[in-house]
C-alpha cells in the first residue's frame, strides 16, 4: 500500500496533550487511502506517541529545528519536501488552515505536485471532493501528478483509531532550509485568550450574532452555552469591536458547516452566506421579515433577538431539568 504523509505541527503543545481532533481526522482519512506516515514539527511526548500508535502510524519523521517556527510557512514546506523525497508518498495531507494551505502551496512548487484545498472527502483513487462557488457546486478533482497534496477541512471525517495499532518508529530529520525560506521572520506572537467554548471551525453547533446584537453578545453567548455551541459573528459585529475577529463567519472569516447554525440579528449578506450556507440546519432570528437570511433558513423567527434568544435558552434549560 502506498504511503500517505500527514503533516502534524505540535509546536507549543502541552506534554500531556493527546492528538488534536484535526490530526486524528487526517490520520483516519490517510488510512482509508494508504498507509499513514507522519511528518512531525515539534516535540513528541508520550501522550502523542500513544495517539500516533493508536492511529496506526508506523513511522514518524520528526524535526524540532527552531527555523520551522521562526519563519512563516516556507521552512515547513522544506521539511515536507525533504521527507517526501525520502519516503515517496502518494499523497500529503494537511489541515485546511491558512497556514496549512500556504505550506501546501509551497510544497506543490517544491515537488511539482498538484494542490487541492478545502477537500471534504477522498476516494481510493485520490479524487477529492470539495464544494465551490460558495456551495453552489460539488466537484471531484485530483492532482494529475505523482504526488497529490491535499488540505482537508475539519469535521469532514469521523475520527477513529486504527484496527491495527502500530509502534511508531521515530526518525529525526535534519532539514536543510532554502535561503529564500528563512526570510519572512515572525518577530512577535501574542496568544489569544481561550474562550472555553468549542472551536468555531469544528463546532457541531454555532450561534452567531450580527449588528442586531447592538454591542451585547450576552443573549448569543448564553444560548451558545446552553447548546454547547461555538459563538460566531458577522463582519459588522467584529468590525464594531463587539467580539474578536476570529469569530467572523463568511467570505473573509471562517467557513463553517455545522449541524446547526443559529443566526441572530444578521441580515444575510452574500459574504456572510458564503461562510455558512452549507450548514445542515439554519435557524434565523431577525426583526425584519424581508432580510435575505430568511431565504435560506430552515426555521425563521421574525422577532426581537433580545426576547427570542433568552426565551429559547430558558426553555432548553427547563427541558434538561
Amino acid at each position: 500500500m502506498s504511503a500517505v504523509l500527514v503533516f502534524v505541527d505540535r509546536h507549543g503543545a502541552a506534554a500531556d496533550a493527546g492528538l488534536s481532533a484535526r490530526t486524528q481526522e487526517l490520520l483516519t482519512l490517510a488510512r482509508t487511502v494508504g498507509e499513514p506516515v507522519v511528518a512531525l514539527a515539534g516535540p513528541l511526548f508520550p501522550a502523542a506517541r500513544t495517539g500516533f500508535g493508536a492511529a496506526g502510524v508506523g513511522r514518524i519523521y520528526q524535526s524540532e529545528q527552531h527555523e520551522l517556527f521562526d519563519y512563516l510557512a516556507a521552512p515547513k514546506a522544506d521539511f515536507l519536501a525533504q521527507v517526501s523525497g525520502k519516503h515517496q508518498p502518494a499523497a500529503v495531507l494537511l489541515e485546511n488552515s491558512a497556514e496549512g494551505k500556504e505550506i501546501a502551496a509551497r510544497l506543490g512548487i517544491a515537488l511539482s505536485a498538484g494542490v487541492i484545498c478545502d477537500a471534504v472527502g477522498l476516494d481510493a483513487g485520490l479524487g477529492a471532493q470539495k464544494s465551490v462557488l460558495a456551495g453552489s457546486y460539488t466537484v471531484t478533482c485530483r492532482a494529475t501528478t505523482a504526488i497529490s497534496i491535499i488540505t482537508v477541512k475539519s469535521n469532514s471525517v469521523h475520527a477513529e483509531t486504527a484496527a491495527d495499532p502500530a509502534e511508531p518508529v521515530v526518525e529525526a530529520v535534519s532539514v536543510s532550509f532554502g535561503a529564500a525560506s528563512l526570510t519572512a521572520k515572525i518577530t512577535e506572537r501574542s496568544a489569544k485568550p481561550a474562550s472555553g467554548r468549542p472551536e468555531l471551525g469544528e463546532a457541531r453547533i454555532v450561534v452567531a450574532g450580527g449588528r442586531g446584537v447592538d454591542g451585547n453578545f450576552g443573549p448569543v453567548e448564553e444560548l451558545a452555552d446552553a447548546l454547547g455551541a461555538a459563538v460566531g459573528a458577522s463582519r459588522a459585529a467584529t468590525d464594531a469591536g463587539w467580539i474578536e475577529h476570529s469569530a467572523q463567519v463568511g467570505q473573509t472569516g471562517k467557513t463553517v458547516s455545522p449541524q446547526l447554525y443559529i443566526s441572530a440579528g444578521i441580515s444575510g449578506a452574500i459574504q456572510q452566506k458564503a461562510g455558512m450556507q452549507t450548514s445542515k440546519v439554519i435557524v434565523a432570528v431577525n426583526r425584519d421579515g424581508e432580510s435575505p437570511i430568511f431565504e435560506i433558513a430552515d426555521f425563521g423567527v421574525i422577532g426581537d433577538l433580545f426576547t427570542v434568544l433568552p426565551q429559547a435558552t430558558a426553555e432548553i434549560k427547563r427541558r434538561r431539568g
Binding site: 506543490g108 473573509t252 425563521g300
Partner: protein, 281 residues
C-alpha cells in the same frame, strides 16, 4: 513624509460577480466568466499600494503602482477598474494558451510576468495581492508566486508598513512589516524587500473611483502581453501545464426557505420545539 520610493505591483483578478448566480461551464467545468468584475478582495490590495506610495509623495516623487491581471480578453476590465481607483498603469497578460490554468500554472505565468516587469534598473519592491480570489478562493497564488520568485511571503496582512533602517554606508535596508490575525495568536512578521504581501479586508477601507479618477484612467496605459512576450512556453500553462484537474461537477440545489414564523410571544419555545424535532438538542 517617507523619502524612499516604491515600485509596487498589484495583482488583480477578474471574477464572476458573487451577487449573481455563478456557474461552471458544462463543457470543461471551468468558471463561466460573463458578468465579471474586479475581485472585491483585490480592492484592498490596490488601496494598500496607493496608501504606501501616497505616503512617499506619489507619482511625482517617482513611486509607481502597476495593476497586473492574467485572464481572457475581458479581464482587462479588472485592470481598468484598478486604474480608475488610482493605479498608475496596467498590464494584461492575455493568451489563448492560458485557458484552464490551475494555481500552479497561474503562478508560473504571473512569476514570469513579474520578472519581465522587474528590470535590474527598476526592480519591483513589493507585489501586493488580495487574500483570496472570490471565485477560486484558494489563497494559493500568493504563496506559490513567492515560492517561484524566491521572495519572502507575508500573507494575510491585517496591517502593512514599509520601514527603513538607514545603514552607515547610506542606502538603508527596507523591510515590510505585517500583522496577521491567526486563530490562536496574532503575529508580527517582517521581511526585507522585495516581498510578496497578501492583504485581508481588515487592512483598510478601499476608496471608490471618483469622477476625476474615472476621467484620469482614460489616459493611463494598459499594456497587453502574450506568453511569447514574457518568454513562457505555452505547454507549461493552461490545462496542459496544470497539475490538477476536475473530474466532475454537480450543481447543488439552491437552499430554499423553510418555516418562517412571526414572534407572538412564544417563538423562543417554538424554536426549541423545532430543534427537538430535528434531534439537535
Amino acid at each position: 513624509m517617507e523619502t524612499s520610493t516604491l515600485n509596487i505591483v498589484v495583482l488583480v483578478k477578474h471574477v464572476p460577480d458573487a451577487q449573481l448566480n455563478r456557474q461552471l461551464s458544462a463543457n470543461d467545468n471551468t468558471v463561466v466568466r460573463t458578468d465579471s468584475i474586479l475581485s472585491e478582495l483585490d480592492e484592498y490590495a490596490i488601496e494598500a499600494a496607493l496608501t504606501l506610495v501616497e505616503e512617499r509623495g506619489g507619482a511625482a516623487a517617482g513611486n509607481s503602482v502597476t495593476a497586473l491581471t492574467m485572464g481572457p480578453a475581458g479581464a482587462v476590465a479588472a485592470v481598468r477598474k484598478a486604474l480608475q481607483i488610482g493605479a498608475f498603469e496596467g498590464v494584461h497578460l492575455c493568451d489563448d494558451a492560458l485557458a484552464g490554468s490551475d494555481a500552479a500554472a497561474t503562478s508560473l505565468a504571473l512569476a514570469a510576468l513579474v520578472r519581465h516587469l522587474s528590470p535590474a534598473e527598476r526592480p519591483v519592491d513589493l507585489i501586493i495581492t488580495g487574500m483570496a480570489s472570490t471565485d477560486g478562493e484558494t489563497s494559493l497564488i500568493p504563496a506559490q508566486l513567492a515560492a517561484r520568485l524566491e521572495l519572502p511571503q507575508l500573507t494575510f496582512a491585517a496591517s502593512l508598513e514599509v520601514t527603513s533602517e538607514d545603514s552607515e554606508a547610506g542606502g538603508g535596508t527596507r523591510k515590510a512589516v505585517i500583522r496577521r490575525d491567526g486563530d490562536t495568536e496574532a503575529e508580527v512578521i517582517e521581511a526585507v524587500l522585495p516581498a510578496v504581501v497578501s492583504v485581508t479586508d481588515q487592512i483598510n477601507s478601499p476608496r471608490y473611483p471618483n469622477f476625476k479618477g474615472i476621467m484620469a484612467a482614460k489616459k493611463k496605459t494598459v499594456t497587453t502581453l502574450s506568453l511569447a512576450d514574457i518568454g513562457v512556453d505555452p505547454a507549461h500553462v493552461g490545462s496542459a501545464g496544470s497539475w490538477t484537474a476536475i473530474d466532475s461537477a454537480q450543481a447543488q440545489p439552491a437552499r430554499t426557505a423553510g418555516t418562517i414564523i412571526a414572534d407572538e410571544g412564544n417563538a423562543g419555545v417554538l424554536l426549541v420545539d423545532f430543534l427537538a424535532a430535528q434531534k439537535l438538542l
